[in-house]
């Protein structure tokens, strides 16, 4: 089970991470604001994107069928994998058929989801991540801490140290020099790699094409230089038509990094002569989400990471606290849906339901509503936590039974004098101690408002 509280408390003790995440997320938000100001029809674009995604979800199997048919006609080799294991084996089979020993890959959360890297490693295939952030995380032996910015938890200094220790870079903290070092290191790999891998941002049903957006050019290199290209993608990346693509491209980058557009947008519409392009379509729980009246909305996610950037919890603890490839508010939902109740049952509570995620989501996913539903399911399945259950039941009794309320209030306001210091309560026992650990508590009044009101009316 992912223990969010433990993870978060550990990270909170590390001011370097807290500051790095805070700075990066706030920077992205600021850029988003500035960019959106220059897109007068942004709200309209959000609605149109949402509508397009609703269309897909409303008639999913037909759109998928259409995509498969058109993609095959384009010369792509289309595969389907029901779960992560099937996907891994499929990918391995393709790589083996090409005698692949090294693979270059551009950033893909779906690949992280199916944990392809350690699997390939165990079969003697070395896979290099070529997105700078993802490369850094790979060298550090970590996992991405943000859906679109994998290394935001690391500072320039830490990266400099990492590269000089692990890759023999001459120590420098100059970002440009560090980037150049990584570029040169990876440049060699592209030409030697036997296969390229990538994810996809969009699968276009009516043309059978797939789309990759990126900023570094590494996806273009990874997908075009080696002899075979394997696209690993979730089936939810479908959009109905190429006519919808501009709408999505106009909202994705601003919501994510705050850029007007990503530097590179690649639309793959035909497999070139002599090169194989495989598309591995992954279900891994997505059809289960589709059948779920509440969870299905989360399938609209276009992985911009905006909800992470704006989340006041994420801003403090970053993605690693979520203990999953999918972090931040929408990541809680995805983790619960894909990896299941037992793994993720604590995660839905790691939110104050402040609603900033719903407000920023480019396709208007009602994240707090889904979290509320997941909480309901967790409590229903687990029967609630003992202390918490008692607390809530006592509360419900006190708030619905006038007699209990009167007695309970009297007793509590007497008992509290034991804990009162001046006009505040500074420490409480048991379940309530976690409040007074960091905060003073306002004591109960001597008389309730209703009692006082009645007295005044009477006088």
């Amino acid at each position: 089970m992912i223990d969010f509280r433990k993870n978060a408390d550990r990270i909170l003790k590390d001011p370097v991470v807290v500051n790095a995440v805070q700075r990066a997320t706030l920077h992205a938000l600021k850029k988003r604001e500035e960019t959106i100001e220059r897109i007068p029809d942004f709200e309209d674009l959000r609605d149109r994107a949402r509508l397009a995604k609703e269309k897909v979800i409303g008639d999913f199997e037909n759109y998928l069928k259409l995509f498969k048919k058109n993609a095959t006609e384009n010369g792509f080799i289309v595969h389907e994998a029901g779960d992560a294991e099937e996907a891994r084996n499929l990918i391995l089979k393709i790589l083996k058929a090409h005698g692949a020993r090294t693979v270059v890959s551009s950033k893909s959360m779906t690949q992280e989801e199916i944990e392809i890297n350690p699997f390939l490693e165990s079969h003697g295939i070395k896979k290099y991540e070529t997105d700078l952030g993802e490369f850094i995380v790979q060298v550090a032996g970590q996992r991405p801490s943000h859906i679109t910015a994998p290394a935001i938890h690391l500072t320039r200094k830490e990266i400099a140290r990492l590269f000089s220790e692990k890759l023999g870079m001459n120590y420098t903290e100059d970002p440009e020099e560090i980037t150049n070092f990584a570029r040169n290191f990876l440049r060699g790999k592209y030409f030697k790699a036997d296969a390229g891998m990538s994810g996809a941002n969009f699968l276009v049903a009516d043309t059978g094409s797939f789309v990759i957006v990126e900023n570094e050019g590494n996806a273009r290199m990874s997908t075009t230089l080696p002899g075979v290209h394997i696209v690993v993608t979730g089936i939810e990346k479908l959009i109905p038509s190429i006519m919808d693509l501009p709408v999505f491209l106009k909202i994705l980058a601003p919501s994510s990094t705050g850029q007007r557009q990503t530097v590179y947008t690649s639309i793959f519409s035909r497999a070139p002569e002599g090169r194989e392009i495989h598309i591995v379509l992954i279900d891994n729980g997505r059809r289960r989400m589709l059948k779920d009246p509440i969870l299905r909305e989360a399938l609209m996610c276009i992985r911009c990471g905006g909800c992470s950037n704006v989340c006041p919890i994420f801003q403090l603890v970053g993605g690693h606290a979520y203990g999953s490839v999918y972090s931040g508010p929408i990541g809680i939902i995805w983790t619960y849906a894909i990896f299941g109740h037992e793994v993720a049952k604590e995660l839905p509570f790691a939110s104050t339901l402040c609603g900033a995620c719903r407000e920023i989501c480019p396709v208007r996913i009602d994240i707090p509503r889904i979290l509320l539903e997941l909480r309901r399911r967790v409590v229903e399945r687990e029967g609630g936590r003992p202390g918490e259950k008692i607390l809530i039941n006592v509360w419900a009794g006190l708030m619905t039974e006038p007699f209990l309320n009167k007695i309970g209030f009297r007793v509590a306001s007497k008992v509290q004098t034991v804990f009162k210091k001046g006009d505040k309560i500074k420490s409480l026992p048991s379940v309530l101690s976690s409040w007074t650990k960091f905060k003073d508590l306002e004591p109960l009044a001597d008389k309730t408002f209703r009692e006082l009101w009645k007295e005044r009316k009477g006088s």
């Binding site: 969010f4 509280r5 978060a8 408390d9 909170l12 006041p312 919890i313 403090l316 603890v317 839905p348 509570f349 790691a350 939110s351 104050t352 339901l353 402040c354 609603g355 900033a356 719903r358 407000e359 509503r369 509320l372 909480r375 309901r376 399911r377 967790v378 409590v379 229903e380 609630g384 918490e388 259950k389 809530i392 039941n393 509360w395 419900a396 708030m399 619905t400 006038p402 309320n405 209030f409 505040k424 379940v431 309530l432 976690s434 409040w435 650990k437 960091f438 905060k439 003073d440 508590l441 306002e442 004591p443 109960l444 009044a445 008389k447 309730t448 408002f449 209703r450 006082l452 009101w453």
Partner: protein, 243 residues
């Protein structure tokens, strides 16, 4: 105009003064105010952590008390309780047509206090005698749920003796989140601390939700900072003629 006041459970049991100040402000505008005798909680605290059965119990009781057609409006000095009833009661009672009818009957007549003042009574300026430097915390459900963005600040700015100083993180959650603050005490504290640190050169912190003020106030008090939390109605009602 007859209004039924929902003081909210926190105000009722912890800060009765906020209830009286609410009455004072409403009376100032000629509103007749009634207060039900029975205790009530909207049930949000249970609903938000997944205890829908207990939430339903409280919500049913709430509906029973407040579904009184002879009152023109129901007013509460809390954005998040109003949000709970307005947005979540229909989810809670989706399979209970009778309760659903009640919810739909009440919804259009239910308002948070400042919302009621600005949207129904069209108040632009309140003759409050409040003096001091105030900053404002936009509580989440109030801001993003009810869409109350500029109204509270506008009323505060228009108080002659008050010096309104918006804080940098006005719209960021204070970290309360109901039982969230008990489940994740350290994180909740850090969220509140971050907000508190963004308040500069102010004497008072105000908001339309007592829950957030108890949270932020608890941190201010523990940190020994000289900023006093006051509910927005305590500021608006200051110096208004009592009945």
């Amino acid at each position: 105009m007859k209004v039924l006041l929902f003081p909210t459970c926190l105000v009722d049991h912890i800060k009765p003064k906020i209830g009286f100040d609410t009455v004072k402000v409403l009376k100032h505008y000629g509103v007749e105010v009634h207060v039900p005798e029975r205790p009530a909680c909207c049930g949000q605290i249970a609903f938000n952590v997944g205890y829908w059965r207990e939430a339903r119990k409280m919500a049913s009781s709430w509906l029973e008390i407040y579904d009184q057609p002879e009152y023109d409006y129901i007013v509460a000095p809390s954005g998040s309780c109003v949000h709970m009833i307005r947005e979540n009661y229909e989810i809670l009672f989706k399979d209970d047509p009778e309760k659903l009818t009640k919810v739909r009957r009440i919804k259009p007549r239910l308002f948070e206090l400042v919302e009621f003042l600005t949207r129904i009574l069209k108040v632009k300026k309140i003759p409050s005698k409040f003096r001091g430097k105030i900053t404002y915390h936009a509580s989440c459900h109030y801001l993003r749920g009810l869409g109350m963005k500029s109204e509270p600040g506008d009323l505060l700015k228009n108080i002659d003796g008050a010096d309104f100083k918006p804080m940098e993180l006005e719209e960021t959650c204070c970290g309360f989140g109901g039982l969230f603050s008990l489940k994740f005490p350290e994180l909740s504290f850090k969220m509140a601390e971050r907000k508190v640190k963004s308040m500069e050169d102010v004497e008072y912190l105000t908001s339309a939700d007592l829950s957030c003020l108890l949270n932020l106030g608890g941190v201010l008090s523990r940190m020994g900072l000289p900023i006093r939390p006051l509910h927005i109605v305590e500021i608006l009602a200051e110096g208004l003629e009592d009945d």
